[in-house]
Structures are given as C-alpha cells and as structure tokens.
Amino acid sequence: MNKILLIIKREYLTRVKKRSFIIMTILGPVLMAAMFIVPVYIAQIEGDVKTIGVIDETGMFGNTFNDSENIHFIPLKDDLDSARQVMLKKNLYAILHIPKTELSVPETIKLYSTGQPNIVVKGYIKDSYRKEIESMKLQASGVDPDILRSIKSSINLLTVKLDEGGEAEASSTELSMGVGFISGLIIYIFIFMYGAMVMRGVIEEKTSRIVEVIVSSVRPFQLMMGKITGVALVGLTQFVLWVVLTLLIVTTFLSVFSGDLQSYQQSQMKMTEEFTTETTAPATEALAPESDGSQVNESAIAIFESIRSINFGVVILMFLFYFVGGYLLYAALFAAIGSAVDAETDTQQFMMPVTIPLILSIVVSQFILYNPDGPAAFWLSIIPLTSPVVMMIRIPFGVPWFDLYLSMALLVLGFLGTTWLAGKIYRTGILMYGKKTSYKELWKWIKYKN
C-alpha cells in the first residue's frame, strides 16, 4: 500500500511540475473566459449604426422600415442613379430600392451596397418588407387592420414536468440540453486527454527500460494502478483549477471593466432574491406573479424556475461519478495498449476499437439530446463503454432511478473488468521488447497464468 502511494506521488508530481501542465492550466481558463467575455465585449462596443437610404418609388412603404438598434433608415428623394453616386459621400451603408410596378405591389426590391451586406441587415429588411406586403394583401382581401393587429401575439410555452405524485415542476428543455451536452463533452475530452497520458506514461517506462527495475520492487498491477490513479489526480487538479480560474477571470473582468454589466447583474441578482423570497411563500403564485405582469419578468422567472428544476446536486455528483468511472474504464485499456507496443506510432491498430465507442457516444449525442428517453439513449447509457458520456447527457432531463442505478453498477463492473483484463495484458506486455504484437498474442497474454 505504501508503495502504491509512492508511485501515485511520483506520477502526480512529475506531471504537475511539467511546464506544459502549468501552461495548459493557465491558458485553458483564459481561453474559456474569452469565450464568455468576448461576446459580451463585442455587444458592448457595437455602437456602429448603419444608415440605409430608402428610395421608395411607389410611395407606399414610408412606415415599413423602422429603425432598429443598429440600423437607421432615411428616405431619399433622389433617383437611383444620383443616389448611387453620392452614396459614399452621404456615408450610407446601403441603398434600398423599391421600384414602381404597374400591376401589383413590387415583390422584388434591391439593396445596393459597396460590400457584401451584413446578414443581419439583410434579414431585417426582408422581414420588415415581407410583413408589410402580407398585411397589405390581407387588407386588400378585406381583413380589418384592427383584427390584424390583435392577431399578433407573443406567446410563452412553459413546460411543466410532473413527477409521479403529480407535483408540478417547471422545466427547460434547452437548459437541460445545454447542461447535458457540456458535461458529456467535458467527460469525453478528459477521458481522451488523460487516457492518452496514461498510455504515453506506460510507453515511456517501456522504452526507457526502467520498467523491469520497478517491477522487481512492486507488482506490475500496482505500478499500473498507481499510474492510473496519479494521472486521474492530475486530471482532477487541472479540472478544478480550470473551473476556479475561469470563474475568477470572468467575475474579475465583469466587475472591473463593465460598470453597466455589474448593475445589470445586480438587478438580476435582486430578481433572483425576490423570486426566492416569493417562492418561500406558501402560495404557488410564483408561476404568475402579480408584481407588474410584464412578460419579461414572467419569462425570466420561468428560466429561474427551470434552473431550479434541474437537480444540480445530482448532476454534479453524477458528473463526478461518470467522470471518474469513465476515466478508470478507459485508462486501464489505454495502459494495456501502451504496454503492448514499443512506440506511440504502433498504437494505431489497438486504439481503433477502444476509441470507437467513445467517439460513437459523442457522435450520437445530438440524437440523444432530442430523444433522451428513447431506446438508443437507454442502451447506450447502460453499456459501460458509452455510458459515461451518454448517461451524462441524459441526467439533466431526469432519468429513471432504475436506469441510473443499472448504468452505475455496470460502469463499476465495467472498469473492474477492463482493469482486470488490462492488468493481464500489461504485466506481460511491459516486458516484451522489439516484437510487433498482434491481437492473437494479446489473447495469449490474457490466458497466461500469473
């Protein structure tokens, strides 16, 4: 036991002290924080208003194009040719030309610009124009404009999950999808990164020929488990540091560089507080608060409600379980591969069958997200080779306890199985030099008695 601790300590310390680890640990959060910060920053600086000149030859669309946040419309009196000439002088982003037609309303309009026009601008113009044409046509066929206005309505679909006792619970499919996919993806990436790290470690020991010295002091199985555990701790360290540093950078940025955002955040936080105090009241009026009845508030509350609907305690606990379980399952296999080859370039033929289930589980993730209770989702989240990723995707949607327990039990059995198998390959493989290993050979190694 003492020896395995020594091995874990060495495996952990040599990796954590490496320059590449330190760089990755710092660079990762910077990149992740950039993912949060850059969009916010861009949204902040986007004060660039584009002016679009409108030449309306029909004279019917004077009120069609309303200014939006970034687009400003001005009517032009000139004809198209002269307008085109003064376009740059007048600092116009584009010219919209609505030609006069004889028979009906013009359905083709033209947008002139110096460069390829922005897709947002294009979409906005198209949308506004289409709506106008549609209502014109409806009016032409005798529909009252007041009725038209009253038809336009904004609706919210609140999804409410019922548990077995019929208790209601708000839920958000989008949020579940997000949480599920991201945690599944993180598990996938970590299994790959740290599984490969175990494999490289085994190959290093083999090629540097130190392995025979070590196995004369400890059992090969201890060496393998020590390495797997040490690398797991490296992975957890990196993960925790990433989360902490990312949060630190994001919050620092938000509080230092953006006063506006801070106040926005504060108001949001206040809203959360209000909301929570409200829900502590016995009445279930929370779903339809009487405060001022505005729709914004209502949907915000729905989001908060649905955030609460995901049982984050369970999600985090399960994330850790599948993170560690999946890693152990695959790391053992990666260790076995490392032991069977002489150089990393020879790993290809053995990597394939090991990585296919892992890649499969991330490939089908889209499908699982849309159908988290289907038979494919069920089976893939039960089979240990795919369950770490697939089950993690399912969990935020709520998984029947039976599925969860079965999957967990099988994962535990799975990694015990792969570890046992890998141990057998490993203890023979590490002492085999200079021979290309085939699957037939691996099978023989598994059958060897101690």
Binding site: K3, E204, Y433
Partner: protein, 314 residues
C-alpha cells in the same frame, strides 16, 4: 555451506516454447554464482522468477529455506539487462524513488545514496536530469540503486555491458567487495573471462535445461584434458622424436629460439614421465597444465547438448 536460494523442479512454459524444464539449482550463500547459457536458454526467465516478476508454472523457489514471497523483495537487488531510468527525472530524486520502492525510508535512503554517489564520484550530478548523463554514468546510478538497500542477494544481468574498461574494473571491485561483506551474487553474462575472474560457482542452462552446475574449480578439474604446455630453448634432439609413445603434440611453434609445445598425455601417462623424457635434451623454461577455459567448456557442453537432442528426437 548453506544455500541462500534453491530452485526445485521449476517449469515455465510460454505458448511457443518451453523456457525452463525441471530446473533444480542451489546457490550457496556468500558465493558469486555464474548463471551461464546461450541466448534464449531461459536465464532471464529464471531471473525474473527469482524477482517474482513472473511465477513458475510448477516447482518451487526457496529463499533461505522459505518459499519466495513478497517480503523477500527488499532483500534482493536486481540489475536487469534491459535497464534504464526516467529520462526527465532528476538523478537524485529518481534514485530516492527507486530506493524507497525497495522499502527504505526516505532519510535512510538519502544518507546511503549520498555516500555511494560520493564514492562513485557523481555527487555533483544529484540534481541534474538523467538525460544529461552519459550512458556510463547512468549505469553507475543504476548500479548504486541496485545495491543501496543492502540486499542479501544480488542479481546482475550482463552488468558490464556499456561500461568502459576503467568503470568495468570499478564494478568488478565493488562486486568482490559485496561478496566480502557477505552478500551473494548471481551473475549472468556471456563474458567468459569475467566469469573465470569472479565466479566460484556456475550453472549452465541450455535450451531450458540445466546441463551443468557446480564449483568452478571442480568443473574445470573435471574437464581437464591432461594437456600441458612446455617452453624450452636449445633442444639437442627434436621433441617429437623423444615423445613417441603416449604423447600427442597438439601444437608447436618457435620464436627467437624459444620453443613452445602443447602436448596431450594419454591415459596412464603422468606429467613426471613427460618431464623425465624430455629433460635430457633441452633447457626447460616453463611447464604448466592447460586447464580448459570456461569458454571451451561452455561451447563443448552446449554442442553436446545439441547433439544429444537431435539424437533423441528421431
């Protein structure tokens, strides 16, 4: 003399071949025991069994009369033929790690390692990385790591490969020193002259069988072929005319008036008779018996074994 290690009927089979068949060995305590044999004979497998890296299919290995178990690991030191160190690790850190794996406390290991590093004149390499060391220096580190926990039984597999003659000599002296301090050394090599120099017992393994074992002195006696070498000057009569009955002259040469002949005596002829018959006609310079070298015995036994096996097969 008591034995430190005994093997009884050890068998080990791999899928394609038999590595050890029914091997019995006894390593006397305090000896330097040469484990010899051609490549692929099964020596390394046997050594790995002693180190409990692999287990025999059948048979038993006893360490001081007790079946070999994990508790013996700290009492054995092993320098494998395929040896190396972690390249990216610092020399001292690494030596400490390996010593601790053998069960030493950190403090004890540090003191003893520093002493050895000093003795081998590599103390200033303590905090360098292994990859900066020359191969010979790495070998020194490996040797130190093998012996630092003061094991009772040491196993060296081709210890001299990669050493220059000066360091090889240093190593030889250390091995003799270890023996003097009471350690037993099992020594596997193809270098027969170092066997003659160091070993007092040998075992020859060929094709998974042990074909020879015993004290080296006895073995060389046993394989003596009654061959003598004489050197002389001023012969009045040619030697081959004097030695007619019961002698075979294997070789004779002359250099600057010094004649050297190698003569085999037939059964029943004594060396006294040889000297008596030649002495009147020459000035004898030297006279000595030629004992077979370990090299000769090795080749002879292995070839015999091969012949036996081909004879046995049909």
């Amino acid at each position: 003399m008591s034995t430190i290690l005994e093997a009884h009927g050890v068998n080990k089979e791999f899928t394609n071949h038999k590595a050890l068949s029914d091997v019995n060995l006894a390593v006397p305590e305090g000896s330097i025991y040469g484990l010899l044999g051609p490549n692929g004979a099964g020596k390394t497998t046997f050594i790995r069994i002693i180190n409990q890296i692999t287990a025999p299919d059948s048979g038993q290995v006893l360490f001081k009369g007790v079946p070999l178990s994990q508790q013996h690991i700290s009492r054995i030191g092993y320098l494998p033929e395929e040896r190396g160190l972690y390249k990216k690790m610092k020399v001292g850190e690494q030596a400490l790690y390996l010593a601790q794996l053998k069960g030493m406390s950190k403090q004890d290991a540090t003191t003893k390692l520093k002493k050895w590093f000093d003795k081998f004149d590599i103390l200033n390499w303590w905090s360098r990385k292994v990859e900066e060391l020359s191969k010979g220096m790495q070998q020194k580190v490996q040797f130190i790591v093998t012996i630092v926990h003061e094991p009772e039984l040491l196993i060296f597999d081709e210890p001299f490969s990669g050493f220059d003659p000066i360091n090889a000599n240093l190593l030889k002296d250390e091995i003799l020193e270890l023996k003097k301090n009471g350690s037993t050394v099992i020594f596997s090599t193809h270098n027969m002259s170092s066997v003659e120099e160091l070993c007092d017992h040998i075992a020859l393994i060929d094709n998974s069988h042990k074909i020879l074992e015993g004290r080296m002195k006895d073995i060389r006696e046993q394989y003596r072929s009654n061959t003598y070498r004489i050197s002389y000057t001023n012969p009045t009569v040619p030697v081959d005319e004097v030695l007619t009955n019961g002698y075979t002259i294997l070789d004779s040469l002359e250099e600057d008036g010094l004649f050297t002949d190698t003569i085999r005596l037939s059964e029943g002829t004594t060396q006294n008779q040889l000297v008596e018959s030649i002495l009147p006609g020459l000035h004898l310079q030297s006279f000595n018996e030629i004992l077979p070298s370990m090299n000769d015995i090795f080749i002879r036994k292995v070839n015999e074994n091969k012949k036996n096996q081909t004879n046995r097969k049909p």
